[in-house]
């Protein structure tokens, strides 16, 4: 074993992660979820996925420059139109990867 604190860290990380995941699912039977609450909850995907992927695409591999080498951003932008038109995940992913490939050899 390389790290003395490996299992302690991993076990506590496991417990912590499970508690986060289970938090509202476990409480759900006791919660009274109103229509309005459902509406607020429906904003979660639109709020979290952009916050997750935008920095991933914008600052790819630690490029903190705001304008240089943004081919991923362009590829995602064009792919989002394809996604909107086709409503097909596989087509979107294949087109996005191809776009990035083309943009990066240009």
């Amino acid at each position: 074993m390389v790290f003395d604190n490996f299992w302690v860290s991993v076990i506590f990380l496991g417990i912590g992660t499970f508690c986060i995941r289970a938090s509202f699912i476990y409480m759900s039977s006791r919660l009274n979820i109103s229509k309005r609450m459902r509406e607020v909850l429906s904003f979660i995907p639109c709020a979290i996925f952009p916050a997750l992927i935008t920095p991933m695409v914008f600052f790819h591999q630690g490029q903190s420059h705001f304008f240089l080498q943004k081919e991923r951003l362009f590829a995602l932008f064009v792919a989002s139109f394809i996604s909107y038109k086709t409503k097909n995940i596989l087509i979107t992913i294949v087109c996005g990867l191809l776009l990035l490939f083309v943009f990066s050899i240009l």
């Binding site: 709020a47 979290i48 916050a51 992927i53 097909n88 990867l97």
Partner: protein
């Protein structure tokens, strides 16, 4: 009855996302191998945590000899976003038993959550929705374990020129776009995307959870205004 089982449909819905999962698992397996972890440790970590980003960061911090408390807290903060998924799933599992809730919680990932965004349009029955989710989420776990083990033994063999890891943001984008039902949802997308760029430099990935939370709050605020506005609009329409 020719109806397809929701479990199988769930598994199928995960298939297009796998190109994004595979390179992530390979990177994780490679990092674990380079850090000197053995197969027991990697598998143990995979089963106990089952959270890609947090696992990568934990391995990185372990190699830097960071204190255990810091490692645990950092990983948990990275995973804090899953509390939002859990909240979003609360209505779905309201009537499930404890065992189902436990499995559902354990299997909760970005990908599994993302495949369930159109769940209400797919099924009417709650039990079908739950079965779809469990199929999709379980299949995600299988793929994650396989890809990490592959990465551990063979390194990151995905061809670099294909930039397969770009499939991760692409798949999340493709799954989110149909959830933009009206202008309010679009504003929420824009607000959290822009905020996440400005908060990117915050430590422990805090920018993500802060941007997402502000996004949801803005959505709540904008939609509470909307009822007043739509009333007004309908009045105007009636007037015309």
């Amino acid at each position: 009855m020719n109806r397809k089982s929701p479990i199988i449909t769930g598994i199928k819905s995960m298939l297009p996302i796998i190109p994004g999962v595979l390179p992530f698992g390979l990177i994780m397996g490679t990092a674990a191998h380079n850090a000197g972890l053995n197969i027991m440790e990697v598998t143990g970590m995979n089963f106990l945590m089952f959270a890609g980003a947090a696992q990568l960061v934990a391995v990185d911090l372990l190699t830097q000899n960071v204190e255990t408390v810091v490692i645990v807290l950092t990983g948990c903060i990275i995973n804090l976003r899953m509390m939002l998924y859990s909240a979003s799933f609360a209505p779905l599992f309201k009537e499930s038993n404890l065992l189902t809730k436990t499995f559902a919680s354990y299997l909760l990932t970005d990908q599994a959550y993302a495949t369930c965004l159109d769940l209400d349009e797919r099924y009417n029955k709650r039990s079908d929705k739950v079965a779809f989710y469990l199929g999709s989420a379980f299949f995600m776990m299988v793929c994650w374990h396989i890809s990490v083990i592959l990465g551990m033994f063979f390194g990151n063999f995905a061809p670099k020129s294909l930039s397969l890891e770009f499939a991760i943001p692409l798949s999340f984008m493709a799954l989110t776009i149909p959830t933009i039902k009206n202008r309010t949802y679009f504003y929420v997308v824009m607000i959290s995307a822009v905020l996440s760029l400005f908060l990117y430099k915050l430590p422990y990935n805090l920018g993500l959870i802060i941007s997402a939370s502000i996004g949801v709050l803005c959505g709540a605020y904008l939609s509470s205004d909307k009822s007043v506005n739509t009333d007004r609009n309908s009045e105007v329409k009636d007037g015309l």
